[in-house]
């Protein structure tokens, strides 16, 4: 087990370096001189040239990459051109909000998704199944920005129950969590349903019934644990993508998270900030996949052994 985890972690390291390289190179080939962006339009070419030299931007690309990588490993992602603050500080400021949003919306998504999936599978082809699957289909198809504004209008503006924007109190967390959770719950619900239905056709389910187990135990104990293997993978990946920033939800609700940070970096052409936040988000996704793999092995003894 430990060996498997260590192996998976070691495999992730080259992947992370490759990601940093790709992001780094992509931003190198973008047109425009970052120094002229930083200094503004009125700066003279001489000054720009001098600052470029000072910042080491004239060094060969590979040299700058190695420098960047060495600094990144130590937690230094450079300094924002526009905000003149270390990027790691900016990320540290906005990440807690993203984490809160990710956890609350993932909870909404998983609870709705797994329960709806199980009930749909047990009550297959009934009205309840149709309703739940319809509900989850609406969730999958619903554009987040539109759903979010709809919720803001109903619960914030018309009824006045919940705040529309900001992220300071627990009440602020409800609407974003509901809309983001609902839109992601559809995938979980449908996957849980189809996975459980498939599993319930297996011979070992018949064996469990033949032992005299109550049907609910057959589903929960023998069906669900097998059916959850693909679902858990999906959950971990979903959670990782939530952690890497829900750009639209954060923007609509005015939550200062990683997503908003990234958007502002794009809008202000703040390349180091964009680079740093993209790399940070990608790391989160890689770690999320790693966790999914490890969870997977907890559920499936065959993988644990390999």
């Amino acid at each position: 087990m430990l060996k498997y985890v260590i192996k998976r972690i070691l495999i992730s390291i080259p992947l992370m370096i490759a990601v940093v390289l790709v992001v780094f190179l992509m931003l190198q080939v973008l047109p425009g001189n970052p120094v002229s962006v930083m200094m503004g339009e009125k700066a003279s070419p001489d000054v720009i040239e001098r600052v470029t030299e000072q910042m080491g931007l004239n060094d060969p690309v590979w040299e700058r990459f190695i420098d960047y990588l060495v600094n990144a490993v130590q937690g230094d992602l450079g300094t924002s051109y526009k905000l003149s603050r270390p990027i790691s500080d900016l990320i540290a400021d906005s990440f807690p909000n993203t984490v809160k949003l990710a956890i609350t919306s993932a909870l909404v998504s998983w609870i709705i998704g797994v329960f709806a999936g199980i009930i749909s599978a047990i009550k297959k082809d009934t009205l309840l199944d149709r309703f739940l699957m319809g509900f989850s289909l609406v969730g999958i198809s619903l554009p987040v920005f539109w759903g979010a504004m709809l919720l803001q209008f109903i619960f914030g503006y018309t009824l006045g129950w919940l705040p529309i924007s900001g992220y300071s109190t627990p009440a602020h967390m409800i609407l974003p969590a509901v809309i983001l959770g609902w839109t992601s719950s559809g995938t979980i619900a449908r996957l849980t349903r189809s996975s459980l239905l498939g599993i319930m056709e297996n011979d070992y389910i018949r064996t469990a019934r033949a032992k005299g187990l109550d049907e609910s135990l057959v589903v929960v104990k023998h069906g669900l644990k097998n059916a959850m293997i693909p679902v858990v993978t999906m959950m971990a990946m979903q959670f990782a993508s939530l952690l890497s920033g829900a750009v639209i939800t954060e923007s609509v609700f005015g939550i200062g998270g990683i997503g908003v940070l990234m958007v502002s970096a794009v809008n202000t052409r703040d390349m180091p900030l964009l680079q740093g936040s993209v790399i940070f988000s990608t790391m989160i996704i890689i770690i999320g996949n790693l966790v999914a793999d490890i969870l997977y092995s907890f559920l499936d003894p065959k993988i644990r052994e390999q």
Partner: protein, 331 residues
Amino acid sequence: MINNDSIFEIRGLKTQFFTSKGVVPAVDGVDITVRKGEAVGLVGESGCGKSMTAMSVMQLLKKPGRVVEGTIKLNGEDLLKMNKREINDIRGNRISMIFQEPMTALNPVYTIGKQAMEALMIHQKISKEEAKAKVIDMFAKVGIPEPEKRFSVYPHQLSGGLRQRVMIAMAMICNPELMIADEPTTALDVTIEAQILYLMNQLQKEVGTAVIMITHNLGVVAESCDYVYVMYAGKIMEEAPVKELFKNPLHPYTFGLMNSIPKMTEVKTHLYTIKGMVPNLLNLPQGCRFCPRCDKAMKICTMYQPDLYELEDGHKVRCFLYNKEVMESGK
């Protein structure tokens, strides 16, 4: 081993599948009697309804299948009249079942020990430690080497033969009155088959469990059963004690089955086969179901269904050849 007190009786069992193409009479009026400690064979080709008989007993039929008529009595109690909870009390406890496919019949995400303990834990009020000790005992009894170590092993780490031993251990763990084995050795190779059959015979004698052995293999029946039912297209065609059946097969179908087994003592260039195919249950012949394939068919066979005639020695056969009136009236 044979005595006269029957513990399990199926009477007039009809199981049908209500499909969009019509009603499929998979089991059509089957009577089976099992006496205490007896091993009964149920033989027939694929699709003759032998597995569906077992599934009807365990009430594990899948939709659109349903028992429409008959009684299934275990010591006088009719299983078909029981509610779900009462059935669950019987399943795995008083009647257990072994399935054909040992490779898929065990849950891949639980250890075999845990799975074997499950039936004990629900049917008997004992502690986990006691249950574990019992399971390890049982594993040893069914010939699983190093039972303590194997207790915490997952199914995929075992061979097919060992998995089937685990299934037998699971089926025997509550000392059931009846064990239904549905083609328990079909998926195993011949040497393992012999070991498993030997093991089942041993346990049956030791514990006194009665067995219904469902198989298409007459060799398995000869080796392990006391009494045999031959089934064809949902009906019992012939029944007799095993020695009697092999010595004196009466029904042309049974005769054909026996002749289609290669024998060590004869040199043949062609193996006998029963001509034709198993009838489509949606479109059965009007008369005897075996009639279109029977080389002794008479006119009456195409018009009427024969009853199960009992001969003097208790041998029963569903064929007009053994009905004196029909034979004397000149067909």
